[in-house]
């Protein structure tokens, strides 16, 4: 006599393909075949062995403290019982399927409910494992496909002629958040274990600026790449290679300096700009612009920056800083003027930068004042969440963790930015 149990994670009973961030994950368990058992059926939900993976914790309700295992009593007639999986902050998975859940039924592991998952978190590029790095580079090179791949769409979205959609106004941060998410989802369609890494430009990053990763500056126009590096076949605009060298600083020992009278702000200096969005948004100048200008090459102008793969890691760090600022100041409600510019504030807010505006190019709107063409529409879908939608608005990028509504969860997180429930929020997706 051994009942059969089914676990559903975010509505899916699949035993693989689950990707978590730091947000708690809503789940249910139910008896599908009582096999003569009497009510209630006692089960225990717990971690699969995770020596190389991310530990998970469990709780019956949001108000409870999570634990390594969770005893539950299930209705023998099959009514579902809710519980939550709570990933452990700063314990991300390094490999796909390296996190997992098992269910003990009647004192034995129920093999049919062994579920593999990944706590998929954007990492600091300089701390990635060799395997993580190589998967990322392989996926990125595949998306580029020697210049013939879909990466060209991303390059064509970030030009002087499209600059007003993404720069110089309040939507700078939301637009680039959507841009990165779109790219990340394309990479995950190639390899679902990949996330975008970020370049902490206020710290030395010798592992990133290596011939085996993003290339080491040599003093010539191009960084040194190992022949086996997938980026060795990088092509944009029909031109092979990556054009980048430092402005003289040592990328093996130093952080990006910016310029003598316009240095790159550190993380603390950036977060110290102020607790109101209008104060924080000036980070578009420094650290953002100052980090760009720390190089000679494609990355030092809006028109050509997207030709360099480093550009996406630079912007991932800009987005991480915004995410960290949001957590520090609890800024997730886009309707709050401290979280985002209220419409009509800050001079003339251009179309595409107001909270309720859809963003180009995903909205496919072309013609003045938008650019004449839209290289990508809609935004790439995700198998784990419907947010931020095919045609995201500026406001849809703000509550990316789903603090205010589970429907807002965009499915990404950073290794040093926790999920912490908003007072009065939903406690995650």
């Amino acid at each position: 006599m051994r009942p059969t149990v089914e676990v559903s994670i975010r509505g899916s009973t699949a035993t693989a393909g689950h990707y978590f961030t730091w947000s708690p994950v809503d789940c249910t368990a139910r008896v599908t075949d009582p096999d003569g058992a009497v009510d209630p059926v006692a089960i225990t939900v717990r971690n699969r062995t995770h020596t190389a993976g991310a530990p998970l914790t469990f709780r019956a309700a949001a108000a409870e403290a999570p634990a390594d295992q969770l005893p539950l009593l299930l209705d023998v007639a099959g009514a579902p019982t809710s519980f939550q999986i709570v990933p452990v902050f700063q314990s991300a998975s390094e490999e796909n399927h390296s996190a997992g859940i098992v269910v003990d039924v009647a004192g034995e592991v129920d093999a049919s409910v062994e579920i593999s998952a990944m706590v998929r978190i954007r990492p600091d590029a300089d701390t990635m494992t060799t395997a993580q790095r190589d998967r990322y580079l392989t996926a990125f090179a595949a998306l580029n496909d020697g210049g013939a791949g879909r990466f060209q769409d991303f390059r064509d979205m970030h030009l002087d002629s499209t600059s007003d959609e993404a720069h110089g106004n309040a939507g700078f941060l939301p637009w680039h958040r959507a841009y990165l998410l779109d790219l990340e989802r394309e990479l995950q369609a190639i390899d679902p274990s990949v996330t975008l890494p970020y370049w902490r430009f206020d710290r030395p990053a010798p592992n990133l600026f290596s011939p085996h990763f993003i290339g080491q500056s040599t003093g010539t126009s191009q960084p040194e790449l190992a022949p086996s590096n997938p980026l060795a076949t990088w092509v944009t605009d029909g031109i092979p290679g990556i054009q980048r060298r430092t402005t003289g600083w040592n990328d093996q020992k130093e952080s990006a300096p910016g310029l003598p009278t316009f240095p790159v702000r550190t993380e603390a200096e950036t977060l110290a700009l102020g607790s109101v969005f209008q104060q924080f948004w000036v980070m578009e100048g420094s650290p953002h612009g100052a980090a760009h200008i720390s190089f000679v090459g494609s990355i030092n102008s809006i028109d050509s920056a997207a030709r360099d793969p480093l550009f996406f890691m630079l912007h991932c760090n800009v987005d991480r800083l915004w995410a960290k600022w949001q957590w520090l100041n609890r800024r997730y409600d886009g309707g709050d003027s401290a979280t985002y510019h209220p419409d009509g504030a800050f001079g003339a807010v251009r179309v595409g930068h107001k909270r309720g505006d859809t963003m180009w190019p995903w909205n496919a709107v072309t013609g003045w004042p938008r650019p004449p063409t839209a290289p990508r529409t809609p935004l790439a879908p995700s198998p784990v969440t419907a947010a931020p939608g095919d045609y995201p608005t500026v406001g849809a990028m703000i509550d990316y963790q789903g603090q205010l509504s589970p429907d807002n969860w965009c499915g990404f997180d950073y290794d040093d930015v926790p999920f912490e429930p908003e007072p009065g929020g939903t406690d995650g997706p």
Partner: protein, 295 residues
């Protein structure tokens, strides 16, 4: 990790990183005062640059100083710092584009090489046709050069046009500096009409290995199918060098070849596999290529 502790630590770090103190209006006045000490004005520029977003008129001041040939070089460089960074975003600076172009062209006439080079770079990035013309003239006539040949080629790469390809072909065909030729080869990959010239470089055993390698990357970008033909010819050639053979094999493997390995190249790959020592780059490249083909 205790999130309360984590938050407290971050709050302490942020609290210790207060924004620079100082009055923006005072700093602008100090920066604008041509009679003031240079060090004071540069220090004022630091504050003005970091807070320029607060007052759109700061950009007019920065542009004025940059374009003032009589002002101190260090102050002009500081003004250029602010302009370069705020190019990433400032709509107020965009509105001064015409004045900025004039100021940058004045900076090109400065004695200071750093100021000159940065002004040239910024104009080239902005697709300034006068600067493009000067770069081309400098490549054709060394006495007219406004920067080094390699840098000239790089800067033309910000905005490739049909007439740029002509000078780039001349550089590949006749320039003495290998790095400059490599830069030109890379850019010619965007020009279908340069395929034959690039192929000639790749096949030329008298060329430097690095130049052939760059040419191979360019040929693969401009004509992937022809690159495969050339690459397998190189592999099959008993008299060609290991370095270029390993390079083209790696490129074929990474990009994926569309044809099966020709018989002569296949025979050479077998020979390499059988006769070369483990760990030799050519043997490793051959092994990886055969594995990829088998898959």
């Amino acid at each position: 990790m205790d999130l309360d502790d984590y938050r407290r630590q971050l709050e302490a770090d942020v609290g210790a990183a207060a924004p620079p103190a100082g009055d923006l209006a005072d700093a602008m006045a100090t920066l604008a005062d041509r009679s003031g000490p240079v060090a004071d004005r540069v220090e004022a520029a630091r504050l003005v640059n970091m807070r320029a977003h607060e007052r759109p008129d700061t950009f007019g001041l920065l542009v004025d100083i940059l374009g003032d040939g009589g002002d101190a070089t260090d102050v002009r460089l500081a003004a250029l710092d602010g302009i370069e960074v705020h190019q990433f975003g400032s709509s107020a600076l965009k509105e001064q584009r015409a004045e900025l172009t004039v100021a940058l062209k004045r900076a090109m006439e400065a004695d200071d090489p750093d100021l000159r080079e940065r002004a040239i770079d910024m104009l080239a990035r902005g697709r300034d046709v006068d600067v493009q013309r000067q770069l081309i003239d400098g490549l054709r006539d060394r006495t007219a050069a406004i920067t080094t040949p390699q840098r000239s080629v790089e800067l033309l790469g910000y905005d490739l046009k049909a007439d740029h390809y002509d000078v780039l072909k001349d550089v590949v065909a006749g320039h003495e500096d290998a790095e400059t030729r490599r830069e030109a080869l890379r850019l010619l990959a965007a020009d279908a009409e340069s395929e034959a010239l690039i192929e000639t470089v790749v096949r030329d055993k008298d060329e430097e290995a690095a130049v052939r390698d760059t040419g191979a990357a360019a040929l693969q970008a401009v004509a992937p199918e022809q690159f495969e033909v050339v690459a397998y010819d190189i592999v099959a050639d008993d008299n060609d060098y290991d370095e270029i053979k390993a390079s083209v094999l790696t490129k074929l493997t990474q990009q994926g070849s569309t044809t099966s390995i020709p018989a002569e190249a296949a025979a050479q790959l077998d020979t390499i596999q059988n006769e070369r020592a483990d760990g030799e780059p050519l043997k490793e490249a051959a092994r990886r290529h055969i594995e990829q083909q088998d898959n």
